[in-house]
């Protein structure tokens, strides 16, 4: 899902980012979920989101979960997801899940010193982060 949302997210470590962040106390977490008023523990949000995505994917694509879809199908699915147009979606609004998962992918691709360098803009930190997250 991360790579479909933002090219480069997989190599930038979006899976590790989320996995690590949901394993630490919520007051230390650096996820956008924190900012968007998601109630901790944040793992609950991601667990429910994965279930909703695979449930809606299976319903639409003959029993195949999201990871089993072809790239063009994944793109179509995400486009429907962001517009709340998926039948059988369960839990938090699909558009909100899209927003947060996209934000995680944006974080690792564009929110780091490497990300700024990739965009060709100076990062100019007062205090540079010693690691991306």
């Amino acid at each position: 899902m991360g790579e479909t949302l933002v090219p480069g997210a997989k190599d930038a470590g979006v899976t590790y980012f989320v996995d690590q962040q949901i394993s630490i106390p919520p007051q230390e977490a650096l996820l956008e979920a924190r900012i968007m008023n998601v109630k901790p523990p944040f793992a609950n949000f991601y667990r429910a989101a994965l279930g909703a995505i695979d449930g809606a994917s299976s319903a639409r694509y003959g029993g195949r979960n999201f990871a089993q879809l072809a790239a063009n199908e994944q793109h179509e699915f995400v486009d429907l997801m962001r517009q709340n147009k998926l039948d059988g979606w369960k839990g938090a609004a699909a558009s909100f899940v899209y927003f947060l998962l996209r934000s995680d992918a944006v974080d690792v691709v564009y929110g780091t010193m490497d990300g700024y360098a990739h965009l060709g803009v100076p990062y100019q930190p007062h205090i540079a982060p010693t690691r991306s997250w």
């Binding site: 480069g8 650096l30 924190r34 109630k39 929110g111 007062h126 205090i127 991306s132 997250w133």
Partner: protein, 528 residues
Amino acid sequence: MANNDKVDAVIVGAGASGSVFAAVLAKAGKKVVLLEAGPDWQLDDLISSDIWGRRIKPAGSPFLLEGKNPYGYVYQAGWGTGGAALHYFANFPRLLPNDFKVKSTYGKGLDWPIDYADIAPYWDKVADDVGVSGDAKAEEIWRPAGKPYPMPPMRTFPGGDAWKKGFDALGMRLTPAAVGINSTKFKGRPACIYDGWCHVGCPIGALSNPLVTYLAEARQAGAEVRPYATVTRVLTSADGAKATAVEYYDANKQKQVQEASVVVLAAWSAQNPRLMLNSATDKHPNGLANSSGLVGKYLTAHFASGTSALFDEDLQPYMGTIAAQYFSYDLYDKNAHKDNGAFGSTFMVAGTAQRYSALGGVANARLDLFGAELAAFMKRAARGYTRLNAFAEEMPVIDNRIELATDKDEFGMPLGKIIHSFNDEAVALFNANFDRGLQIAKATGAKEAWPNKGPMPTIHLMGGTIMGKTAGDAVTNSFGQTHEIANLWIAGPGIFPTSGAPNPTYTILALSLRGAEQLAKNWGSVAD
């Protein structure tokens, strides 16, 4: 449970307003303790990163959010010393004279018990205290004259200057923004270097966060800060006439009581009423200072209509501050958008430094894009993107409120529930400001312009413990002293009866200074 030696004043919350009260009272020789629910942040904790910057905000939602437009607060709330003012944008606009008698003038909302002229000297004092850069004379096209700011306006960059061209083309006025950031060296603090990382905390002290202004002064004068101290109740005397202490849980989650002659509630606008409601006794069955039933009522939020513009030219959008380069009160008349069914003031800011990720980042300027299309947009926007924001005013209604929920937190205190909905006039104002923003953007000559339309945001939280003339129509007087308990004071935007449209911190500081000086001056008749 441990009892601590009685102090003169216990202040709940070490953010913008609590720091002002602490500084004034400590400098007046009072023994002051600040109880802060979060960490005691230091300047070198303030890492320049949108990802790491989330550390200085609350963790998730201890407040339950309900209503048509649930109040999403974590982005703008504080946690730890400095509070929300540790990561605020430091825009320093003031309210205008038409903000103070809205009900009398228009038959809507509420009146303040004071006028512009009552606060004006304190805006000037705060400017001299913390350092404000701007052009006061230029602003006087919209407001009464006051003192010049202690520093000249900040530098501008192409991303801000582009909007000036659009305003000029439409005959609208845009002046240098007043900001709480140093354009020159000020009181030993350095000038800003325009790297755009203000919103995750300025570690060089060029931006006037409390760690380098009032909280530093308070500490220097002997005030004690106790971090990780979560207050759950204000205790009162048997006859209910006086506040006597606050009950809190310390960093080891042990219950403590801090007795004090004066209690100042300076937590954020939702937490103060939560504490007051949770402090009910037989003498105050509906919560402290709440015979009016208004504790927790008349919450207001700002909302913003953002307009994006994309240029082929290099605008250096990564340069500047997160505060505005320019601002405008040209749409501040409450009826400026009357033809659209809207009511309320609009305050516009232009030319903030852009970050590329996170909630306010460039990637979210096109939320519809993902995949290759997003990557292509980001490449184009990296140097060509700029934004105009129109902040607007929501009228206070009694149904927008804080209540205690049945669920409890880890200390057994009922969670707060924030119930918030925008009315039709606010929605109309939100939409009208998109139309105007797009008109301005097109006049800039941008290659592309679009409204950043999404769910209606809730920005800043005001009200909940409003000021007014009597105990029947308000919780506090204009100084923040509760009408019913003379030594219980409220500080912060919770005492605003109406919100106006500008960023509130400058007014929070001014009202807190006014209140704290009043308290210090009348200490003998107030303190228990």
